[in-house]
């Protein structure tokens, strides 16, 4: 086991998740692999053929968002990498866990919101079980104690 996978989206909601990952890295001495997954679902109501245009832009934006997280990690004296992927968020988290032999996965809990979230509470619990069974990594939901 050699890393911490932390999926981030950016913005204020991701800050506690990033802080927790940095804290965990400081405690365990493991490097962090920040993950941003490009998701273009919002184009489904507009022009689908613009996907080729926006995909590269979204990747660059994702890299930029990860740089802000990496900056924060660097300030905490922690080694951090940024990974941008396309596709399903769940599949990409699992894939990165396997590639990096992750020991921990840090995820933010969904907040109560009228807007749809990638993981609602029920799906999040199912996903935590899936990560544990498929990768052996321990999932840390922000707000819970690190085991």
């Amino acid at each position: 086991m050699s890393g911490i996978v932390c999926a981030v989206r950016g913005g204020a909601a991701s800050k506690p998740t990033i802080r927790r990952a940095v804290q965990l890295a400081q405690e365990s001495g493991l490097p962090i692999h920040f993950l941003y997954v490009v998701n273009l679902d919002f184009l489904s109501h507009t022009s689908s053929s613009r996907v080729h245009t926006i995909e590269e832009e979204m990747r660059e934006m994702g890299e930029f968002i990860l740089l802000t997280a990496q900056e924060q990690a660097a300030r905490g004296g922690v080694e951090a990498h940024g990974v941008v992927r396309d596709g399903s968020v769940g599949d990409q988290i699992v894939a990165l866990c396997r590639e990096t032999e992750a020991q921990y996965v840090v995820l933010g809990r969904p907040r109560h919101s009228a807007r749809p979230n990638v993981f609602d509470e029920e799906r999040l619990q199912r996903f935590v079980e899936r990560i544990a069974s498929q990768t052996g990594a321990q999932v840390v939901l922000v707000g819970e104690d690190v085991p």
Partner: protein, 586 residues
């Protein structure tokens, strides 16, 4: 040997005689039983195309002497043959198989002109004695315009329900725009072909009649512009310009904001707003993150600017393309009549945005040297060769858009020529270019024209026009206010493209009935209202949804309430200023 003068004179006479004989008869129509010409219009004076017009013996149901259909301008020409075969052998006199027009018709016999068309009341007009004599004399009988009354039946309500259903599907986001209009068009045909087998009155129109409502000028203009945009958007010009804006502002957010708004607005005036925001939003978020500020303080004013400034040219928004094609408003007309008003509205929008986001713009954000360094590395023109060529072709297209009207060059033709020239010049992967064309949008427009054509066909638009006409009377300022503000407010909740497409004939009617409106001012009001109204709500414009979608993926969600709070005052400011300009201008 030179011909003598006598020969020359004889040749001239023969040539003139041949020429005279080859000319179509103007006053007489020899060889046939006469000719009747006229025009068919609805009660609002609009030409009725495809109406069946016939001339029959007797008051009703007699032998048909001749029949035809009206042209797109409502005109018809009935040619009476010299003889007409008898329909029933027993009605024919012995030894005679055909009715000799006029020879066999007693001088006192009644002849009736009939006019019928789906969704109109049939009219039967007996010819007067004087008119009959004109025909008998072999002359051309020119009839006064025939007015047809609308018939409001089951087809009227069916088409209305289908149109409202399509609007609701799009507005609610339950179905993709194209799928919604495609379903609507399919339903119109299902009702017209299959439903009419059970209930004949439910028929709206057939396939060929439906195609008459498709504005191919709009389709090809959008297609041509899509190809040009597909080349430009891959050159990195937007990223480069946004970074230049940051450099020019020297990191002062209050200065960066209007520069980014101007770049977005000008780009939207030549490209479609969705593409502009797709390209501007990610780079704007990166600039904001690098400067340590909330990206929404830059993004929302940008999308407002896109919706406002996009209408300053004919090609800036789909609604302008629709309006320009329908009303014959040229590229130059938009520049002269709308661009100054748009500039005024833009100035108001900048002032409003500076005030609304004063805390974010004047707050002390913590800029990140690492991120700024990364930003400068990325802000580069990725394909300078294509950009240079696209620039030359774009300049040529603008010139043709501006000058083309003098030689009746349609904007669609200019766009297609420009797109083709660019493709030939840069020789891109043609498969990639074909993929870059947004076919779903083209299908959306074609099927939208059919659905809107259905409500025009059955008289819904004429009914609406009559009601609005009755409300505003002959008061032009009132009509301007009603059109502009109703378009603006309705565009916040219903999609502005179908709305505009449906309103065009209504505005066309008001333009002919209200004194002083023949300068097309009401079309400009529709343009301003439909586009700037998009700022009133998150669902008011596709560019809003794209911007909020990208912002959400960066962790900065835009709620409906947040957008309304910022967008509605922006709508009031910009529409108010644009209206002031239109009042001054017209």
């Amino acid at each position: 040997m030179k011909p003598s003068r006598g020969w020359q004179g004889a040749l001239l006479v023969v040539a003139l005689a041949a020429l005279w004989m080859s000319l179509p008869a103007r006053a007489k129509n020899p060889g046939v039983g006469g000719m009747v010409v006229g025009g068919v219009f609805d009660t609002q004076g609009q030409p009725v195309e495809g109406a069946r017009v016939w001339l029959a013996l007797g008051a009703e149901g007699g032998t048909t002497l001749s029949e035809t259909e009206t042209q797109p301008d409502g005109s018809f020409t009935l040619r009476l043959p010299a003889t007409i075969p008898y329909g029933e052998p027993q009605s024919a006199p012995e030894g005679q198989t055909a009715l000799r027009v006029w020879d066999d018709i007693p001088s006192g016999a009644a002849v009736t002109l009939g006019v019928s068309r789906d969704h109109f009341e049939t009219r039967l007009l007996p010819l007067s004695g004087e008119q009959m004599e004109t025909l008998r004399g072999g002359e051309i009988l020119e009839l006064p315009p025939v007015a047809l009354e609308r018939h409001i039946g089951i087809a009227f309500w069916t088409a209305s329900l289908i149109f409202i259903g399509v609007l609701l599907l799009i507005a609610s986001g339950r179905m993709h725009n194209t799928l919604a209009t495609l379903s609507g068009a399919a339903l119109v045909f299902a009702v017209s072909y299959l439903g009419a087998l059970l209930v004949p009155d439910v028929r709206i129109f057939g396939f060929e009649a439906a195609l008459r409502y498709v504005d191919w000028n709009v389709i090809f203009l959008i297609l041509g512009m899509m190809i040009v945009i597909a080349v430009v958007e891959r050159t990195g010009i937007f990223q480069w310009m946004a970074y230049r804006a940051y450099r020019i502002s020297g990191g002062r957010l209050w200065l960066l904001l209007p520069i980014l708004m101007l770049i977005t607005g000008v780009a939207s005036a030549f490209l479609d707003n969705v593409t502009t925001m797709l390209l501007m939003t990610p780079i704007t978020i990166q600039i904001a993150l690098a400067m340590g500020t909330n990206p929404l303080a830059l993004l929302l004013p940008e999308v407002f600017a896109s919706n406002v400034v996009g209408i300053s040219t004919l090609i800036g928004t789909p609604t302008n393309i629709l309006i320009g094609s329908y009303a014959g408003i040229s590229f130059n007309d938009f520049l002269h009549n709308l661009t100054p008003g748009v500039a005024l509205a833009f100035a108001g929008l900048v002032a409003y945005s500076e005030w609304v986001y004063r805390e974010e713009l004047h707050g002390a954000g913590q800029a990140s040297p690492l991120l700024l360094q990364k930003l400068s590395e990325r802000a580069r023109i990725t394909d300078p060769d294509h950009l240079r060529k696209a620039g030359w072709v774009g300049a040529g297209m603008l010139l043709l858009f501006a000058l083309g009207e003098r030689v009746h060059l349609l904007p669609a033709v200019t766009a297609l020529m420009g797109a083709t020239a660019l493709l030939v010049w840069i020789r891109p992967d043609i498969e990639e270019m074909i993929e870059a064309v947004d076919w779903t949008t083209l299908v959306f427009f074609i099927t939208l024209f059919i659905v809107v054509g259905a409500i025009r066909e059955v008289g819904v638009i004429a009914w609406l026009a009559a009601r609005i006409g009755g409300m505003v009377g002959e008061n032009l300022p009132l009509a301007m206010g009603v059109v502009l503000w109703s378009a603006a407010l309705l565009s916040t909740v219903i999609p502005n493209i179908p709305f505009t497409a449906a309103m065009l004939p209504v505005i066309g009617y008001l333009t002919t009935t209200i004194p002083g409106a023949d300068n097309l001012v009401l079309f400009y009001c529709l343009s301003v209202g439909a586009a700037m109204g998009g700022n009133g709500s998150l669902i008011g414009a596709s560019a809003n949804l794209v911007t909020s979608g990208i912002a959400e993926r960066a962790g900065y969600p835009v709620t409906y309430k947040e957008f309304l709070k910022r967008g509605l005052p922006a709508l009031l400011v910009t529409v108010g200023l644009a209206m002031a300009w239109l009042w001054l201008r017209f």
